[in-house]
């Protein structure tokens, strides 16, 4: 996709949350998640693939997402991730926390 010179890397802590959110609708593979995040943020955020891979390992080992290999055309395979139950509650928790913080920042900026 076109590179917006103003787009910034997603911060690590929020990357986890964004991955979980993307997976909350349907299982996806890594590139799909990148696409979704970059599209919906309208190019504001850019996903670093290395960080993405790291986050996948972290989340998978933490039990928040499951991984599954599916075959693709040309005899390759792709790793699809899906949200687990504890991932779902983790997402809810992180969302709440994020909303709490951004509300506080908004108040501070207004004051």
């Amino acid at each position: 996709m076109a590179e917006d010179p103003r787009s910034t890397d997603v911060v690590q802590g929020t990357l986890d949350m964004l991955i979980l959110k993307s997976l909350s609708l349907q299982p996806m593979h890594g590139f799909g998640i990148t696409q979704r995040i970059e599209q919906i943020s309208k190019g504001v955020f850019r996903v670093n693939p290395g960080s993405l891979m790291l986050a996948f390992q972290r989340l998978e080992r933490g039990g928040f997402i499951d991984a599954e290999w599916r075959a693709t055309e040309n005899n390759r395979r792709a790793k699809y991730y899906s949200l687990t139950k504890s991932g779902r509650s983790q997402l809810a928790q992180e969302t709440r926390e994020w909303e709490r913080r951004s509300a506080a920042i908004a108040r501070l900026l207004e004051a």
């Binding site: 593979h29 590139f31 693939p49 290395g50 891979m53 395979r77």
Partner: protein
């Protein structure tokens, strides 16, 4: 956080590296494919799309590496690789590895072995519940200076009821007993215990039950027996409960049966390993009489044991008992001369089993062996530095290529830990073997040593030591080598072991080693001198070639009713008869070929703390002084047999024995008479006293003819001094001689006595014959033990000998290690200066000159080390002064000896490389680069 997943995924990545790698590859490739496709959808060519995708992704390898490293298993993997690398390096240098492992094995092994001893004696809890809170409560007789005495039941009961420092208080006493009858008789030891006893100790029988309050109340003749007794006399019969065991008891005619109600666990023992059965206190044959008294000595034979309440200290308990004691003193005073008062002593049971002195000595030994370990580590550090200098370039290159310094340090430390781990493992093997040997040899002489073994605590200690050792000798070389300034080292064509800093470091290490070695040597030297001084003490008798046989006189048929009415006629006749038997026996033994003389005494090597009390007419009781006093009956030939010198007067004779019989059975004197009047009419038993007795009671006077008595208010019994003999050290050569008075030995039934037979050859060869003579002269007598006086005298200093041998061993170890260290440093110094030595030789230096040069240089640092060590030792050996005998901690002969020994050894260590230096070919040396 899913622990299960973390573990499984990590392990999978660790052991299936290719699979994990392939998965990551596939995932990345798919990602790039998708990105490429997307780029192509915007119209790029395939090649351009692929390139764009790759650029956007960034470094694929870096990303994969990051993912790999973020798992916990990667650090484990790295550790594994470092260990394998270290092992490879060590395998390539077998000489270095062997020396280092051997050195560490010796150091760690010796320290672990010593710790095993400390563990067995001091750290391992006694086999009772909450053993750390158990204390023995006994009486301290302040007035007479006697400690840890027995107490009357009444007093113990008062302590239990009035004191709040204890959860519970139990009491016991032990005595010798004989099991079985006629053919199956054997010696054993029994304990009378209060009902709560086994529960109190937290011990449960493996069969049957313990002693209950009901047993105590009913005075039931029941017994709980030990595992060993059960196996020996009941062949481990599982139906033993309810069976009877015959016991001989004082005051009863013939053996009485007790019913076995329980059997104990094989590891249980109380209060010592010889006690094999436990019976209720109330069946003690004098219980009813004794349990109502407080003051008389014969009622004060019980020992109390209490469990402190949590949070109560020993001192607090002692203070509280002091308050109670004063209250009792006011309520129940007594003017009996041997009344001990109500002051209590409270001592933790562990300190009773393994005395404070022994515990301190063991800790000192542990400290000493720790010093040896430091010397070993110094040696290994020195070797590591030498080897490290050879790898100088390797590390410089790695640093230059960008290696992380911490990584290098970690790798070097892992090498150290591998070495110390292997050394530690080998050391533990040595230690286990050594301690097993020690347990077999020394177990009988030292408390709890038979329980020695390598348990979890010892292994943990050895592991900690290995880690510590690895750190000690690894840190400095690791930091030094990894910090190598890259370019400088690459420029230098350096030799192994060289570099000023390395040389200086190794020199300091040698200095330290010599200092430590001096300290350990000083300690060993002082102990050796103490042992020497101890053996120089004249025991007061000649123990060589003397057979020592402990005999128990046979029981006699009980008096008939008729005999009891004629006691004043029958008893003396019997006593004379027994004396005759004994005299004939001694005569027959003395007539044996190979025997010089023989004699009896009641207890040759006095166990316990005897405290007879006497009254001297015309003297105040208070002026009698405090301390021990022993009454020791002997047969006339005893002093001659033991070669005890006569100082004045005469030895005892058979006539004296007859006088004693008269004195014992003379008509009782009216108690209302004054002491002087009593003396006038009494028959005096002739006694011989020793010089200590004279020093205490008749200083500056001639004691011959003087008299004294016992029990002055009641059945006053009189003695008269007829001779003075030399002092005998019967309680150990390092203890003060106690005052003794010797009367004639009249054997009484079931009493114990020691038969001493002087021979002119090995005394044990006649033991069999003597035994036969004894049993034929006195049928039914028992012979519990046979030995030689020499050996028994030696046994008294067994603890001291043990400490001395150990410390000397440690000193030898330290000395050898220091010697090796000195040798290593001088050897490398010579190698470095080969060229210079070549020049000197070429310019005309003789072999002697070269040797002198090398030796002088080589001894410089050890000399400083020795001086430092001497000052440290002079300060430090003060802590062991209570272990010494006959020397004080700054004994100049010892220190001179230490300096001499270390000097000679250092000189030798320098000499070997020095002589090799003298043989250097100057042409070869000068040609070397």
């Amino acid at each position: 956080m899913s622990l299960h997943r973390q573990l499984t995924r990590g392990l999978r990545a660790l052991f299936r590296k290719e699979t994990a790698s392939r998965e990551l590859d596939d995932e990345v490739r798919h990602y790039l494919d998708m990105a490429t496709q997307q780029h192509m959808r915007t119209g790029m060519s395939r090649a351009d799309a692929e390139r764009a995708a790759r650029v956007e992704f960034g470094s694929v390898e870096a990303a994969k590496e990051e993912v790999r490293e973020s798992g916990w298993e990667s650090s484990l993997d790295m550790l594994g690789r470092d260990v394998r690398y270290a092992l490879r390096g060590l395998r390539r240098n077998p000489a270095f590895t062997a020396v280092v492992v051997a050195t560490l094995a010796l150091g760690i092994g010796a320290t672990t072995a010593m710790f095993s001893v400390v563990n067995a004696v001091m750290l391992r809890p006694l086999p009772y519940r909450d053993a750390s809170r158990l204390v023995l409560i006994r009486t301290d007789d302040i007035r007479r200076g006697l400690h840890d005495e027995g107490t009357a039941f009444r007093t113990i009961d008062d302590w239990r009821r009035q004191s709040r420092s204890f959860e519970d208080v139990a009491f016991y006493r032990t005595e010798r007993t004989t099991l079985g009858s006629t053919d199956t008789r054997e010696r054993s030891r029994r304990a009378y215990v209060s009902a709560n006893f086994l529960g109190f100790l937290g011990a449960a029988p493996i069969l049957g039950r313990g002693i209950t309050a009901a047993d105590e109340e009913a005075r039931a003749p029941v017994a709980v027996i030990s595992h060993s007794l059960w196996q020996r006399r009941f062949a481990a019969d599982s139906h033993v409960v309810g069976k009877t065991l015959l016991l001989e008891e004082g005051g009863k005619d013939g053996p009485t049966p007790v019913t076995v109600v329980g059997v104990m666990d094989p590891r249980f023992y109380f209060p010592d390993k010889q006690t094999e059965l436990w019976t209720p206190a109330t069946i003690y044959w004098r219980w009813q009489r004794e349990s109502i008294e407080r003051a008389p000595e014969w009622a004060r034979r019980w020992t109390a044991i209490g469990r402190l309440r949590p949070g109560v200290s020993v001192d607090a308990a002692r203070d509280e008992l002091g308050v109670i004691g004063r209250r009792l003193e006011a309520e129940y005073p007594s003017n009996l001369p041997d009344f001990s008062g109500y002051v209590a002593s409270v001592v933790p049971v562990l300190d009773h089993v393994a005395g404070k002195r022994l515990q301190l000595a063991l800790l000192l030994l542990l400290g000493a062996v720790g010093l040896v370990l430091l010397v070993a580590c110094a040696n290994v550090a020195s070797l590591s530095l030498a080897r490290g200098a050879a790898r100088h370039q390797e590390f410089a290159i790695r640093r230059a290529l960008g290696a992380d310094r911490w990584r290098l340090v970690r790798q070097l430390l892992i090498e150290s830990f591998v070495l110390s781990g292997v050394g530690g493992a080998v050391g533990v093997m040595f230690a286990t073997l050594g301690t097993r040997l020690l347990g077999a040899v020394a177990a009988a002489r030292l408390p709890r040593l038979d329980e020695i073994g390598t348990d979890a605590r010892v292994l943990a200690f050895a592991a900690a030591l290995s880690i510590l050792a690895g750190l000690l000798f690894g840190v400095f070389p690791a930091v030094r080598m990894s910090g190598a300034n890259a370019t400088e080292s690459l420029k230098e064509a350096t030799m192994a072991g060289s570099g000023v800093a390395v040389r200086r470091a190794r020199g300091l290490l040698v200095l330290g080693e010599c200092c430590l070695a001096v300290m350990v040597l000083a300690g060993a030297g002082l102990l050796l001198r103490s042992l020497q001084r101890l053996h120089a003490v004249d025991p007061g008798f000649d123990p060589s070639h003397v057979l020592a046989m402990r005999i128990e006189f046979p029981r006699e048929a009980p008096e008939t009713a008729e005999e009891r009415t004629q006691v004043s006629r029958i008893a003396p006749a019997r006593a004379r008869g027994r004396e005759q038997t004994l005299n004939d026996l001694v005569a027959r033994i003395s007539a044996m070929p190979g025997v010089t003389s023989a004699g009896f005494t009641d207890d040759m090597f006095i166990g316990g703390e005897p405290h007879a009390s006497i009254t001297i007419p015309g003297r105040e009781a208070a002026s009698m002084g405090t301390g021990q006093l022993n009454e020791s009956p002997v047969t006339p030939g005893f002093f001659g047999a033991m070669r005890v010198p006569l100082r004045s007067g005469r030895y005892l004779t058979r006539e004296d024995a007859f006088t004693k019989v008269r004195a014992l059975w003379s008509s009782p004197v009216a108690t209302h008479l004054s002491l002087a009047e009593k003396e006038r009419t009494a028959v005096h038993e002739p006694v011989v006293v020793n010089e200590a007795f004279v020093r205490r009671f008749f200083p500056g006077e001639d004691p011959l003819g003087k008299t004294f008595c016992v029990d002055p208010t009641n059945k006053t019994y009189w003695y008269q001094i007829v001779g003075v003999v030399g002092d005998m050290h019967r309680q150990g050569l390092d203890r003060q001689v106690i005052p003794e008075y010797f009367g004639s030995l009249l054997p009484s039934p079931s009493a114990r006595a020691d038969l001493m037979v002087r021979t002119n050859a090995d005394p044990l060869t006649i033991a069999g014959t003597v035994r036969q003579l004894v049993t034929s002269a006195m049928p039914g007598s028992l012979i519990p033990s046979v030995g030689t006086a020499d050996r028994q005298l030696g046994d008294q200093s067994a603890e001291r000998a043990f400490q001395t041998v150990l410390l000397t061993l440690f000193a030898g170890l330290a000395l050898s290690l220091a010697a090796v260290g000195i040798y290593g440093v001088v050897h490398y110094a010579v190698a470095e200066r080969t060229r210079e030595i070549g020049v000197r030789i070429a310019l005309g230096a003789s072999a002697a000159d070269v040797v002198a040069l090398v030796v002088r240089q080589g001894l410089r640092l050890p000399f400083i080390g020795v001086m430092l060590g001497l000052s440290a030792a002079l300060a430090g050996t003060r802590v062991m002064s209570h272990l010494l005998f006959g020397v004080n901690a700054s004994d100049p002969i010892t220190y001179a000896g230490v300096v001499l020994v270390l000097g000679v050894v250092s000189f030798g260590a320098c000499l070997v490389p020095a002589r090799r230096a003298a043989r250097v070919d100057p042409v070869m040396a000068l040609r070397r680069e």
